[in-house]
C-alpha cells in the first residue's frame, strides 16, 4: 500500500502557496506543514502554535535583516 497522504496534502499546499504567497520561501511552507503534520491528531493546539510562531518570527527577523 502506498502512503500518499503526505504528498497530496503538501503538494496541494505548495501549489496554493505559489499563487497566494509567491514571495514566501518554499522551505517555510514545508516547515510549517511538517509541524502541522506531526501534531494533526493532537488534542491541544499550543505546541503547534508556539512552533509556528517561532518559525514565522525567525522568517521575519531574517527578512528584516536582509532588508537592512
Amino acid at each position: 500500500m502506498i502512503d500518499t497522504t503526505k504528498d497530496m496534502a503538501l503538494e496541494a499546499l505548495l501549489d496554493a502557496a505559489r499563487e497566494e504567497a509567491p514571495d514566501l520561501p518554499t522551505e517555510l511552507i514545508k516547515a510549517i506543514y511538517q509541524i502541522e503534520k506531526t501534531h494533526q491528531f493532537s488534542h491541544e493546539d499550543k505546541t503547534a502554535i508556539d512552533a509556528l510562531q517561532k518559525l514565522i518570527d525567525e522568517e521575519l527577523s531574517n527578512f528584516q535583516r536582509g532588508a537592512q
Binding site: M1, I56, Q64
Partner: protein, 659 residues
Amino acid sequence: MKLKRLSMHNFMPYKGDAVLEFPQDESRNTLIVFGDNMRGKTSLLNAIRWTFYGYAYGRHLRKISLHLLLNREAVNEGARKMETRIEFEANGSQYDLRRVATMKNLVAKPERPEDIQVDIHMKKDGAAIPGNEIDDEINQFAPEQVSRFFLFDGELLQEYEELLIEGSEHGKEIKKEIEKVLGVPALTNGGLHIKTILKQAQNQQSTEASKIKGLEATAERHQRWLTKRESFENDLVKLRSLLDDARNSRLALDDELEKVEKIYSQKSKLDSCRSRCREIEAEIKQKTSERQQLVGQVWRDLLEPRLIAKQESLFQEQQRLMDLNRERNRIQLRTEQARQYLTNQVCPTCGQSLEAGKREAKEMELEQLRLQLLGLDVDDSRLTDITVQIKALSKVIGHGVGETLSVVDKDLARLEHDLTKIENQTEELEKELIGSDTDAIMKMRSRRDVVFKEEARLNLEVEDRKNKIDEADREIRILSQQMQPDDSHRNARGTQMVGICEKLHASFLRGIERLSEASLQTVESHASKAFKAMSTQTAYQGLRINENYGLTILDQNGHEVLLRSAGAEQIVALSLIAGLSHAGRPAGPVVMDTPFGRLDTKHRKNILGYLPNSASQLILFVHDGEIRGSDDLNVLAHRIGGQYEIKEISPTHSVLERR
C-alpha cells in the same frame, strides 16, 4: 503497522485469559475468526479498540459503560481486574500497549464507571513511554479519528449510504472522518493556527499604529473591530457548543423515540380501538332497542302466510260466487224474456209475432231455464260474508315487520362480530403495552420538537455570527491597509507579521480546496478499481464520487445505476474503505466485523479474493452464515495465515480456539 498479538484477561465474554495471534507473513496476511452471533466477535474488535482508545462500542455506536466490560462470571467469582494487551510493530519499533481496569478498594461489585480505575502502559522497544505521551504515540499510526475505517464494524455499512443523502448529518460527519484520513486536518489545523498568530499580529499592529501621530483614530477603530471580532468568535464557540448539545440531545431523543415508535404507534392503535369499541357498543345498544320494538310487532308476520293463503282462497270463492250470481241473473233475464214472449205473443227484443210452431219450443226453453235456475246454488249471504272477511283481512295483512327484523338481526350479528374482533385487538395491545409509559412518550415527542426548534434557532445564530466575523475580517483588513500609508509604516514588525500571516492563511485555505479535489479523484480512482475487482458485473465502468464522498455506480455506458441492491451497497461501501486505505493513512491492518451479511455467494468470493490485497493484515470476524466453509475459504486459502473459532462455554463465557 503490523499487529502481533492480542491478549485479554476477563474482558467482556472472555473470562480468564484469551490470546489471538496475528499472521506475520505478508503473503499469508489474513486471519479469520469464526463465531456465531452473540459469542464474542464484536468483543474482539472492542478489545482492540479499548486497548488503543479506552472505549468500546455497543449497538448503534453507543459507548459501553466501563463497568460493563468486566466479565460478569469472573467478577462473581471474586476477580477484580480486567486487562487487554496489544503487541505490534510500527515505524520500525516494537510496541507493547496494555490497558488495565481494576476495581477500586471497597467496591464489591462494580455498578458504575467510577468504581473502576484504569491505567495505561506502553513500551517502545522495551522503554516505557510517559503516560501523557501515549495517546500522541498511538495517533502516529492508528489515529483515533480515523479508526472506524480500519476497525470496521459491518453493521455500520449502511452509514455509508448516508453519504449519498445530500446534507444529511451523518453524511457530513462521515465526510469529516474521511477528510481526516486524507490528511486534510494538517491543512485545516494549520489554517486555524495561522489565524491565531495573525490575530496576535493584528493586535500588535494596532498597538504600534496607535503610537503614530495621525494613525491614532484608525488604530482605535482597528482595535474596536478586533475586540468585536473576538467577541463574535467567543459567541460562536459558545453557540457551537450549545448547538452540539442540542443536536446530541435531539439525536438521543430521536434514538429513544425510534425505540418507542412502535409503542407510540401501538398506543395510537389502542386509542383508536377503544374509540371504535365505544362506537360499536353504542350502535349495538341502538339496534337492540330497535329490535325490541320490532319483536313486539313480529307476531303478525307469523299469521301472515296463512292469512294470505286464506285471503286467496276467499278471493277465489268470491269470484265463483260472483260468477254464479252473474249466471243466475242471465238466466233470470232470459226467463223473463221467454215469459213475456209467451204472454204477449211478441218478441220483447225484436217485436216479431210469435208463430204457432215456435210456442212449444219457447215453453220448453222456459222449462229448461227454470230447471237451470233451480240448479244454481247462490248463497248471497255467503258472498256478503266473504266480501266482509276479505275487507277485514286487507286491514290486517301487510303490517308485518319480519323483513326489517331480519335486517336488524343481521346488523347486530355483524356488530357483535366486529366488537369481539376489536375487543381482542384491544386486549392484545393492552398486554403489549403493559409497563410502557405512553404519557412519557408523548412528553418525549414534545421535548424533541422543542429541542429541534432550538437547534434551528442556534443554527441561525451560528450563521449570523459567522457573517459578522467575516464582516469584521473585512473591516480589519481595510483598516490594516489604512495603517500603512508609507514604507516606514509597512516595515513595522506588527504590520509585516500581519502580511506574512495573511498570505500563509490564504495559502492554507486554498490548499484545503485543492486537497479535497485531489482526494476525491484519488479515492474515486482507487474505489473504482476495488469495485471492479469485487463486483460480479464486469460490464460496469466503475464508481463516481460526489463531494460528500458518496459513490454511485456507473454502468457500461457511463450512466448512473439508480436502483442498488443491499448487496451492491455493501460492495460500494467496501470499495470506499479500500479506496481510503490506499489514499489515506499509513499502511496498516484492517479489522472487519461481520462485513458480509447481505452478500450473495458470487460477491462473497470476489470480495474475499480482493480484500487481502487492500491491507497489510486482514482480520475477519465472521459467523458461519457469512462465509460458508470450504466453498468460500478456497478463494482465500492461499492468503490465510490463521483461523480461530469462538466457542461458548456459557452465555457469559467464551473461549478462543485455534483451528
